[in-house]
């Protein structure tokens, strides 16, 4: 049975696309450390959590749909 975490992790094709981007030297900077200072980093992480909560239902529906 697929767990919720498995359902939410990037799919194989998404990982493949990410790898292609990561190993393109022109896009190397997109994969380097991002240092905003402690306060802004915490704020950014909080914003990511909010975004993740918003998009999660759509992502689950899309992943389930793509399995049918």
């Amino acid at each position: 049975m697929t767990s919720l975490a498995q359902l939410l992790r990037p799919s194989g094709s998404e990982v493949r696309e990410l790898v292609l981007r990561e190993t393109d030297p022109a896009r190397a900077a997109e994969f380097e450390q991002l240092c905003l200072g402690p306060a802004l980093t915490l704020l950014a992480l909080f914003a990511i959590v909010v975004c993740a909560v918003v998009v999660t239902p759509f992502r689950i529906l899309r992943r389930l749909g793509s399995r049918r």
Binding site: R9, V15, L18, T23, D24, A29, Q33, L34, T41, A44
Partner: protein, 539 residues
């Protein structure tokens, strides 16, 4: 070479160190090995530090990811030993030639030049007296052998911090490496809260490692100090991280050492004068036999067991198998949150820790602290329950403050941890049944809870705990045991000499009775030299 004094099977950390000791004592040595290698991958990696390579080389996916990795391969790669594409020759054909059947044990074997040592993380930890005694190794002889290995391979480490008394009992030591930014911040946090963290059972220091902190010339071989380019998971260009092949290259300059590649050893037979070794030449496909006066088996604990059981006709007999459990704790190093990490670093363990549980004070549990960068971001992002772009943003924000703590757990024999040889294929198949008892699992869980508390107290907040399959630590031992009972067919003398075949010696961990909670490679190398010294004494 006519009949060599000593035949050594395997070119891993044990094999080359046994061969080195025999050669040093003036004996003629033949090393039999399959010896897979991968020159091609090494040649495509350009010089330069990780960031420069990432920003400039259009061919980088060949060595960072692999030329033939499919989407499923990429998504499926989970935690465990990280064999990057240039290191994947290490496991080539191992399961085809030396099959292992198990549903409960993920064993990794190697038939490569340098064995599993070709991908070693270079942590050099000595066993203490209590551990050596429990394993079955003589304390004084091992102390001498540790020093010999340290002098030959070059070990950088501190002499005077909170872990060195427990973990670096050998000399000489090269100056320790400066920790990278992330590890430096963690170490500073530890020093600020030292008394509290130590009262919780955890001591932390700089990791001793076989990574050169300055140039080393030894036996005509020059190796450079680590260039701090963070390419150590992919390239050995500077030769700063010790690999067994370097010892072999030095040995092959000596007239009394020979190396035969493509030899897959299946068994031995005792003769009046010594021993005959049977092997398959993998190039020609022909079966062959060579004679020697003594034989040192150093094919890795499982490989050595396969050869010995087959030779002694012990099919379907269950024998012990051991493997350290291993846990990864990805931690947030709070002092580094939002702060930049410097580019200059090596890729291997930066700090180490020793945890002692008051209920079992003799079990010293070793922690290794790694910073994360050169294994690439996608490996982090694919584990996050987030859309890829949000996952990537999270990984970039956390990258400089991410510390991966790797923890070994001790392993001891029970009748629920066994392997047996079945006649199947060229060298037979090994079946492994491995189950930890409830009390062992409960102790590991309890210890992890205590370690997590101590890490939090030093500012490293564990985010999760990841336990790879049993066997994934790549630390194996068992099968035979050191015993004075000469009637025990599974017994060896303290010298490694098999009671059932006196010309044959176990030169690796195939006869260790337990596995302390530490990396074992340093002890493997020291023990192989000790065994080889006994072999030379017998000639």
């Amino acid at each position: 070479m006519t009949v060599p004094d000593v035949i050594v099977v395997g070119s891993g950390p044990s094999g080359v160190n046994a061969a080195a000791k025999c050669a040093q004592r003036g004996k003629s040595v033949l090393v039999l090995d399959v010896g897979y290698d991968d020159e091609r991958s090494r040649q495509v990696i350009p010089a330069g530090d990780f960031l420069t390579v990432r920003r400039s080389d259009p061919e980088q996916s060949r060595y960072f990811v692999g030329e033939h990795a499919s989407a499923d391969d990429l998504a499926g790669v989970r935690v465990g030993a990280q064999l990057t594409p240039p290191r994947q020759f290490i496991t080539r054909n191992a399961l085809e030639l030396a099959p292992i059947q198990s549903t409960s044990f993920a064993a990794m074997q190697s038939l490569a030049l340098g064995g599993l040592g070709a991908g070693w993380g270079a942590g050099t930890y000595s066993y203490n007296d209590v551990e050596l005694e429990e394993v079955g190794l003589p304390i004084l002889d091992m102390a001498r052998s540790y020093d010999e290995v340290a002098a030959d391979i070059g070990i950088a480490g501190p002499e005077d911090d909170d872990t060195s008394v427990e973990l670096s009992r050998f000399r000489p030591l090269l100056p320790p490496h400066e920790p990278d930014t992330n590890a430096g911040a963690a170490f500073a946090s530890y020093q600020r809260s030292r008394e509290r963290v130590r009262s919780m059972g955890l001591s932390v220091g700089r990791a001793p490692s076989a990574v050169l902190s300055r140039r080393l010339e030894r036996d005509g071989m020059v190796r450079e100090a680590n260039p701090y380019e963070d390419m150590d998971f992919y390239s050995d260009a500077s030769r700063s991280v010790y690999r067994p092949r370097y010892t072999l290259e030095s040995l092959l300059r000596e007239p009394n050492v020979a190396y035969r590649r493509n030899a897959f050893v299946s068994s031995f037979r005792s003769t009046g004068e010594g021993v005959e070794v049977h092997f398959k030449d993998l190039e020609s496909g022909a079966e062959a036999t060579l004679a020697g006066r003594r034989l040192i088996l150093a094919a890795g604990a499982i490989g050595t067991t396969r050869i010995a059981l087959r030779s002694l006709g012990m099919l379907d007999r269950p024998v012990p198998v051991l493997s350290n459990a291993y846990t990864y704790l990805p931690c947030l190093n709070v002092a580094m949150l939002g702060r930049p990490a410097e580019n200059r670093r090596h890729s291997l363990a930066q700090l180490c820790g020793v945890f002692s549980d008051p209920s079992r004070p003799t079990d010293k549990i070793v922690l290794s602290f790694f910073s994360y960068r050169s294994l690439l971001m996608y490996k982090l992002v694919k584990e996050m329950p987030l859309p890829p772009n949000l996952g990537l943003l999270t990984a970039r924000l956390l990258l400089s403050s991410l510390t991966i703590v790797g923890i070994h757990h001790p392993d001891r024999r029970t009748d629920q941890k066994t392997m047996r040889l079945r006649e199947d294929g060229a060298g037979g198949s090994i079946d492994i049944v491995y189950k930890r008892e409830r009390t062992e699992r409960a102790w590991i869980d309890g210890t992890l809870r205590s370690i997590r508390r101590a890490l939090r107290a030093m500012g490293c907040v564990p985010l999760s705990a990841i336990s790879p399959e049993t066997g994934a630590s790549i630390h194996y031992a068992g099968a035979f045991g050191i015993t004075s009972d000469r009637g025990d067919v599974l017994g060896t003398a303290a010298s490694g000499q098999l009671h059932a075949a006196p010309a044959v010696y176990i030169g690796d961990s195939g006869n260790w009775r337990s596995l302390p909670a530490k990396g074992l490679t340093m002890t493997l190398m020291a023990n192989a030299r000790r065994v080889a010294a006994a072999v030379c004494d017998s000639l």
